[in-house]
Symmetry: C2
């Protein structure tokens, strides 16, 4: 098959788009800003969901489901939330269409809602309005809820997976009796996200806290995991917010504590979205297509027979029929592609494009020699491997590939994390696509804003394990006690 993927170095943005389209992950829909997630892309999301959902349950959370629509007035209740979320969103004003008599469907103006409904851009308001009825006593706490849902934020400039008007995500919303407990939850879920990114996505992340400018609308603190893409730009891969008592106060959610006193509840919220698929693509893929870490690959091993006669195919298929159950028993997902409508070369290209971690090719001579030809997707190296004990070799290799993909991304990040000690140096590094830049900052939103306006770089986070050191702000020259991580970002 003709791949037609633009080279990453030539045009990174087009390269990304080509992979999304040609690997059959997603496409733009006819509805502006909304995407269609195609079966192969969705199967990666299902893998992510399955793993995350188990992690949420293992940490004591239950799933629930809240309404898609939020009454407009709810957004006025939490002052800072208004500014952040109640602007670019889909507004439902009517609840009926009618036929105009000429076969055209028009809006029935008599069916106008008294109060407009907003398609949820995030669910803090509707959920905290509900929690008021669920929480009376400390015995009702903590309340640990997660929701898998679609959300809508009207975006003018969209990119598949990275920024779309509608996207899929999970949003955790928890309620606690103390600030400490809510903060502990906020950080625990950040750790869950970081572990998922690193152990499953093969994506090294920096855990940190956002500056006031970049904080979630309504949060006291926003924690995040930040990853680096292959073009040196950063991508926020997940956030976890300590909301204090802001939403509890806005929606009047109180509880009686052990001492019999009435207090407002403390809150956290946290989420990751289909954006993670964008991160996965951009972190690991190459000019031959998608590279998937084995733990998230819908198909981990593909087997392609190479034969000159039906008899040869018969022999190969007999061997494959024995191998597949052995692999499946070890938890390996495997596909045997014996289509006779496509040639092996076409299949090879297709599975490279789709990022299948291991490809086995088996020909007549292999059957004579008791071998297979094994190609790993990440390094594109080929080797001849014995059929005997192949399933053990493969399970070990899948682990190696998983680790190797992570290490490669980690090395990239290490090489692309640089200290800048002056504003000139900072700007030079940025233009050289240096990646993360660690620099001193005076701690003011004004300086941060000016740097952003002048360079398009933002403070991605203040790392959690940050080293304290004396220094001066690269922009203002004022004193600073630590470096923060800057980058241009998605």
């Amino acid at each position: 098959m003709s791949k037609g993927i633009t080279s990453k170095n030539e045009d990174y943005s087009q390269w990304y788009n080509d992979i999304v389209i040609k690997a059959d992950l997603a496409e733009h829909s006819s509805v502006k800003g909304c995407m269609v997630i195609k079966p192969y892309g969705y199967s990666i999301w299902e893998k992510m969901q399955g793993i995350l959902d188990q992690k949420f349950k293992d940490t004591g959370h239950s799933n629930a489901y809240f309404p898609l629509f939020i009454p407009k007035s709810y957004f006025s209740k939490e002052a800072s939330h208004v500014e952040g979320f109640a602007t670019e969103c889909a507004v439902v004003t009517h609840y009926r269409l009618k036929n105009d008599g000429n076969g055209n469907i028009i809006v029935d103006e008599t069916a106008k809602l008294e109060e407009e409904l907003i398609v949820r851009p995030t669910s803090e308001t509707i959920i905290w309005n509900t929690y008021r009825g669920w929480i009376q006593s400390y015995r009702d706490l903590p309340l640990l809820i997660n929701q898998w849902a679609n959300v809508v934020r009207w975006e003018m400039r969209t990119r598949l997976f990275l920024r779309t008007t509608e996207f899929l995500w999970q949003e955790g919303h928890t309620a606690h009796s103390t600030a400490d407990e809510a903060i502990e939850e906020t950080r625990k879920m950040l750790d869950v996200y970081a572990d998922f990114a690193e152990s499953f996505m093969g994506l090294p992340v920096v855990k940190g806290v956002k500056t006031a400018n970049e904080r979630f609308a309504g949060a006291l603190d926003t924690y995040c995991i930040e990853a680096l893409m292959q073009d040196g730009k950063a991508l926020q891969a997940g956030t976890s917010h300590f909301l204090g008592q802001n939403f509890a106060k806005a929606f009047d959610v109180k509880f009686t504590n052990k001492e019999g006193k009435i207090e407002h509840v403390w809150a956290s919220s946290w989420g990751v979205s289909t954006r993670l698929i964008g991160a996965l693509i951009m972190a690991h893929s190459d000019d031959a297509g998608l590279v998937l870490p084995p733990k998230l690959a819908p198909i981990q091993v593909v087997i392609v027979p190479i034969y000159k006669s039906d008899e040869e195919l018969q022999k190969i298929s007999t061997f494959v029929d024995e191998l597949m159950p052995k692999l499946k028993a070890l938890g390996v997902s495997v596909k045997y592609d014996d289509r006779d409508t496509q040639r092996p070369g076409f299949k090879f290209a297709e599975y490279e494009l789709k990022g299948v971690p291991i490809r086995l090719a088996i020909g007549g001579r292999d059957m004579e020699n008791g071998t297979v030809e094994l190609a790993r997707r990440d390094t594109r190296e080929k080797q001849t491997v014995a059929q005997e004990g192949l399933e053990i070799f493969i399970t070990q290799l899948l682990e190696d590939i998983q680790q190797s993909i992570y290490n490669k991304a980690l090395n990239y990040r290490t090489e692309h994390t640089t200290d800048a000690n002056s504003y000139d140096e900072f700007k030079e590094l940025l233009d050289g696509k240096a990646g993360f830049i660690a620099a001193h900052w005076d701690g003011t939103p004004e300086t941060e804003q000016k740097i952003k306006e002048e360079t398009k770089a933002t403070i991605r986070c203040i790392p959690l394990d940050n080293k304290q050191e004396e220094g001066v702000c690269i922009y203002s020259g004022k004193p600073s006690t630590q470096r923060v991580l800057f980058a241009r970002a998605y």
Copy 2:
């Protein structure tokens, strides 16, 4: 705990509502017609999803995701679909809110959509519009896709789970090269639904085909599974539609067949929703609360210690700590409720209310005797069982309960399915809450409509395995070749 459940015989409708609320399954939200699915209710939906999803995958389907919004004009493209779906639905007209300067959030009238967007009431139109780009050749067929999603149909009168403005469902949308293959798919998925209802929900269903009046808007044939609730009313539990080439023609989806000729594609669609939870409740529950079939129970076994001293509790807990892993290893979900804030009687009532199939109570004397007290939820019978081999006893009993719940529902349906041979008899049976009534009908929509207007009974379906017999229509006296199933329905 005080249950406060209205008796089923006293007020069936209130009884249903009490169970939904008191068993913590769902509640009305502040958004008119929309519900909040609470964690316990959602965990039943997750069980259903898991089983159905596996069945869909086992029959060759993949999941994908299509946009929430559908351009208004799409509904005009398939003539009969317009009438059925493009009326009561949520209409998005604007994409921005703004602050009016006084702290109020108002709709920004400058941000008006050129074409209104409809929140999907079902996705045939947007999906078939997408399929046009996916299907060119017979090699692209069959296309077997399923979507898990939320949909919105504006309802004036709502009931938790049974009829809500927003609900969760799955919708399968398949494309085929021949009519026969599409019909085969339609019926195959009906079988999948029927098997799920009977083997997992413990709900006997009649498989049948709808009359023209009750057909899905845009379908050539609608197949359905119909179940009987304990008040003698029927509930449509799932539908599978043969759509012919209607949507392919409306959205111009063509393919080149093996002979090189260009044809329109053939289609099916099929869906079940959170309505199934309503069916589950109404089919099996009693005045003590929910009764869940073990295969869908989030908790299958609950263990309550009954102790007078810490030492006694210690002994019981030691035994339970050994028992639980044995049960889990056998695939049984089990909860040990050793809360010291509630008395055993409270816990007993709570788990009865929530429909946990098996409850074990273990006291000091049980520990001396090597026994436990076991209560099954469905029959509310108690028995003393040996601790030795208890896990085997329980797994067997769970199967017995599953079967027993199904048998009870089947007996109820058998007793509540009656032939009517005159219109008077028909009306008398209806008023006596007789359930399904098998009666001759002349096959005309007019007669069906008149019977509906006069009695509120509809033809639920023409059963697939229907016996052919000569007769006369109970309403018109015209000749008929088979009885059809009438009932009042949810």
